[in-house]
């Protein structure tokens, strides 16, 4: 396959960026999207040109480090798939592919296609945990959790924190990400003690980070590589409002 890439290049957060066109030649349909970029980068290095910076690590679709807006879609055209698991067989020979970083005020560009998602960490730090120290906990089987609830909590827990939901949203809202964590703990018995403080603290931090509001377009759910459901957002709203009324 031969492709034309229009790639966003930006030296750092202070310098304005621009699209640069590259050729990706002799690409095998069995390559992953990132392996295709590896090929382009290796050529750039050979000609002493600065390679394209992008975030990636596990390349198994679980670490959440890879990102990329591909032809305007976070993680590209395939549903329930991270960029690292997207293969070139999803594209046509001769196609032009536009590659951009996540675009959100709360995710400043680090370089080229890599952005700073530390806002997500700070939201988790605000309350995304059960306050339990190491040791002194009950036997694991003393906490009974019905399978249906455990499974539902698990569905929320599968979020990999990649930020695709924010990138997909026209308001750059982080509601899907935050609500997945809030939901996981709100559903489990371990999370009950702090459920309302948690919801409040995490939502407040989310707002402080400059993420937008949710206007129920469901773009986040459509683009989430782990298929996290918007029902989590409804749950989080309930938790947040309850926090106002029921002082936990």
């Amino acid at each position: 396959m031969n492709l034309t890439l229009k790639v966003w290049r930006q030296k750092n957060s202070q310098t304005p960026g621009k699209f640069v066109t590259y050729k990706a030649e002799e690409i095998s349909p069995d390559m992953s999207f990132l392996e295709m970029l590896d090929v382009v980068n290796e050529k750039l290095v050979k000609t002493q040109e600065d390679p394209i910076q992008f975030d990636h690590d596990c390349r198994e679709g679980i670490c959440g480090m890879c990102s990329l807006m591909i032809n305007g879609e976070p993680h590209g055209p395939k549903r329930a798939t991270t960029t690292c698991q997207l293969h070139m067989r999803s594209f046509k020979d001769g196609e032009t592919i536009v590659i951009e970083p996540w675009r959100a005020a709360a995710f400043p560009v680090v370089k080229d296609l890599a952005v700073d998602r530390s806002a997500f960490d700070r939201i988790q730090q605000a309350g995304g945990y059960v306050s339990v120290g190491t040791g002194g906990v009950p036997d694991a089987n003393e906490i009974l959790i019905p399978k249906t609830i455990a499974d539902e909590a698990f569905n929320s827990a599968t979020c990999i924190g990649c930020g695709a939901c924010v990138a997909a949203c026209k308001n750059a809202s982080a509601m899907l990400f935050v609500s997945a964590k809030v939901s996981q703990y709100a559903m489990l018995p371990q999370g009950q003690t702090e459920r309302y403080e948690r919801a409040k603290a995490m939502v407040n931090q989310m707002d402080d980070e400059g993420f937008g509001s949710c206007t129920n377009t469901y773009a986040c759910e459509a683009q989430c590589p782990k298929e996290i459901k918007v029902t989590n957002i409804a749950r989080m709203n309930r938790e947040y409002f309850n926090a106002e009324f029921i002082k936990g």
């Binding site: 002493q48 596990c58 198994e60 670490c63 530390s118 960490d121 190491t134 399978k147 698990f154 827990a157």
Partner: protein
């Protein structure tokens, strides 16, 4: 220097309890006077950082990723072992200990392994309390499954993403401490050197990967939780960023490297498709519970498969060779990883492999799908099947998976004593970064167990003993050793950035990987290893002349990051080869062709090699010095491992 493993006296089952009592304590009010550096935020690092901060120490934690949650522990799929005996199937701490020692082919320390088995039960309690969503049964109790190398079901799991869920648990504990101001987190920071003052580890030098700034950080103790070095093979199931740099630079500052040649080749990975391949993807070992491994009985049938003349389903039952079930009737498809991998290689070497390259065997679920139904199989392994489908474009519900062994884990690592302290006082190594608990082969679902055991339940006790000894006087970066080490790091970066040759760093990495896989991989021989030694040393010389490293130091520069890591991998490769050459026996993942039983199984030499090989760096271009820690077995009898 004489190696002292500091194994406590007394009966096996009492060693850890007694030792905990004998360790010195730091009183609560004094704990806040101590600083501890934790490098790496995977299971070992995140759990250690959180637990130490809870105790009251001031922790600085570092990771090269953009968030501590991305460390490669996250990719572990299958599960975590614990001797809970919830199944009433005969499990016990001693049985987990025994399975692990035997699985490691009798090349691990009894005392360490017993402790690991002992604290395994606490880990599950801890994780559940944090809200880790382990698989459950309808009654609300925890579910278990079986794993390779064991005949009991002691593996706890969270669908096919146990690693992510456990790491998010540890990450949440870490977040709580960051929120409380007890942990200061440094992301996108890479450790480039260890600072040693008067023989003690007192700090690190890091590079900020965003602005390129070289920083120094001081502390009373330094914990390396930096994972394994499987990427020395270029292609492995490790993350792209996984590297040996922190451990290797510490090695050059005096930390001995233990058993570097012990690498684990995991039997069930998606086979290589071409030269473009950047990494290999593991298919969890848990699949061997319900999948049957086979190849055609004849080379002829295999040839037809590879040419596309026939499909797997066209091969009649009597023409299939379920070679693991045939050779190992009692363990069947659940033999340990090293045994499964070697047998897969063997049938492929005989020309009976499948897939275009012939370097693959089938992992077939049709029997399970017929027996349990597609839905049950999907509920157990759905995400793995999807992943396989996505990568290969073949539907594993309809045709068997093709799998082949790939580098997955490194049992070797920095040598540590029973307290997890390296040969440099004040420097500790936890998790995959140390060599300690898995001997020559690690059993499935034991890596997560060890990472969390070290971080949650071992280091909080043992580090206090050292800190109490050195006292709480403040340690800062004023000592000239910090400036000196920083200068050396900067000079190394300058040299790397001056390389404007004609070969990319990735090309060197690929070349190194090919040498290592060919001569120091699944099967090794004296002749091959000697050849590899020469090839690697030539590669090293060439690297420092002809590599291309672009850009500048004071910016995001992936070219520079890679170059530093590959340079270290090349040096490590040489040491791995030396270690493999030195070990004139086969054990676990280290298979020397000269030493095998008539059936082709690994043949150990307990008289001469029942020791840990701990290598000491002696300076540039000098051969490393071998130190031996004799392994003493008082509770298990050393036998030829048999899974028949």
């Amino acid at each position: 220097m004489k190696l002292d493993a500091k194994i406590p006296e007394g009966p096996l089952a009492e060693k850890w309890s007694k030792h905990k009592f004998n360790l010195k304590l730091v009183n609560p009010a004094n704990k806040r006077k101590y600083d501890i550096i934790v490098v790496g935020t995977g299971l070992a690092g995140a759990s250690a950082a959180a637990s130490l901060a809870e105790l009251g120490y001031n922790v600085k934690a570092f990771c090269f990723q953009d968030s501590p949650r991305r460390a490669h522990s996250i990719a572990a799929q299958g599960g975590i072992n614990a001797a809970k005996n919830y199944r009433n199937d005969g499990d016990s701490v001693f049985r987990l200990f025994y399975d692990t020692i035997k699985g490691g082919d009798y090349r691990a320390r009894e005392a360490n392994v017993y402790r690991l088995a002992e604290v395994s039960v606490n880990i599950i309690d801890q994780c559940v309390a944090q809200g880790v969503p382990f698989a459950r049964e309808y009654g609300g109790l925890l579910d278990n499954r079986s794993f390779g190398g064991a005949q009991v079901s002691r593996t706890f799991y969270a669908r096919g993403q146990t690693g992510q869920q456990l790491l998010l648990g540890a990450y949440s504990a870490l977040n709580r401490q960051i929120n409380e101001g007890k942990v200061k987190m440094y992301t996108r920071s890479e450790m480039l050197d260890l600072v040693v003052v008067d023989g003690k580890a007192q700090g690190i030098v890091t590079r900020n990967l965003v602005n390129g700034k070289i920083e120094t950080h001081a502390a009373h103790a330094v914990l390396l939780c930096t994972g394994g070095y499987g990427n020395v093979f270029y292609l492995s199931t490790n993350a792209m960023g996984s590297n040996v740099t922190a451990a290797w630079r510490a090695h050059k500052r005096g930390a001995f490297f233990g058993n570097p040649c012990y690498t684990q080749i995991h039997p069930t990975c998606i086979p290589v498709t071409g030269d473009h391949q950047s990494k290999l993807t593991l298919m969890s070992e848990s699949l061997r519970n319900d999948g049957r491994v086979w190849v055609p009985k004849t080379v002829d049938l295999s040839q037809k498969l590879r040419n596309g003349e026939i499909k797997a389903k066209d091969i009649k039952e009597e023409d299939r060779d379920y070679f693991l079930e045939r050779k190992y009737p009692s363990f069947g498809n659940l033999v340990p990883r090293d045994v499964a991998s070697r047998n897969a290689k063997q049938v492929c070497d005989e020309g009976r492999g499948v897939g275009k390259s012939g370097l693959a065997v089938f992992l077939d679920f049709s029997d399970s799908i017929n027996r349990l139904g597609k839905d049950t199989v999907a509920a157990k392994y759905g995400n793995l099947f999807d992943m396989y489908y996505q990568i290969t474009d073949e539907n594993p519900y309809e045709q068997p998976m093709r799998i082949y062994p790939a580098v997955h884990y490194t049992m070797g690592g920095l040598w540590v004593d029973y307290n997890l302290m390296t040969s440099v006082p004040g420097l500790y190594a936890l998790g995959e970064a140390n060599f300690s608990d898995h001997g020559a082969n690690r059993l499935g679902a034991s890596a997560l167990m060890q990472g969390l055991a070290d971080g949650y339940f071992v280091i909080p006790y043992t580090v206090g003993d050292y800190l109490a000894t050195i006292g709480p006087a403040p340690i800062n970066t004023n000592h000239p050793a910090f400036e000196q080490t920083k200068k050396e790091v900067e000079e190394n970066i300058k040299t790397l950035l001056s390389l404007r040759g004609n070969k990319t760093v990735d090309e060197y990495h690929r070349d190194l990987g090919k040498i290592m896989w060919e001569y120091c991989g699944m099967s090794r021989s004296e002749e091959g290893l000697k050849k590899a030694k020469k090839l690697i040393s030539d590669l090293r010389e060439d690297f420092w002349k002809n590599a291309i490293v672009l850009g500048e130091g004071e910016e995001v520069n992936q070219s520079l990051e890679k170059a530093g890591r590959v340079a270290d991998f090349i040096e490590l490769g040489e040491l791995m080869v030396d270690d493999a050459l030195n070990r004139n026996e086969s054990c676990g993942g280290h298979f020397r062709e000269e030493y095998q039983t008539p059936e082709g199984e690994a043949l150990r030499n307990d008289d001469d090699y029942a020791y840990v090989a701990a290598w000491e760096y002696k300076g540039k271009n000098q051969p490393e010095e071998l130190h031996k820690e004799e392994l003493v077995f008082e509770n298990v009898k050393l036998t030829q491992r048999s899974y028949k």
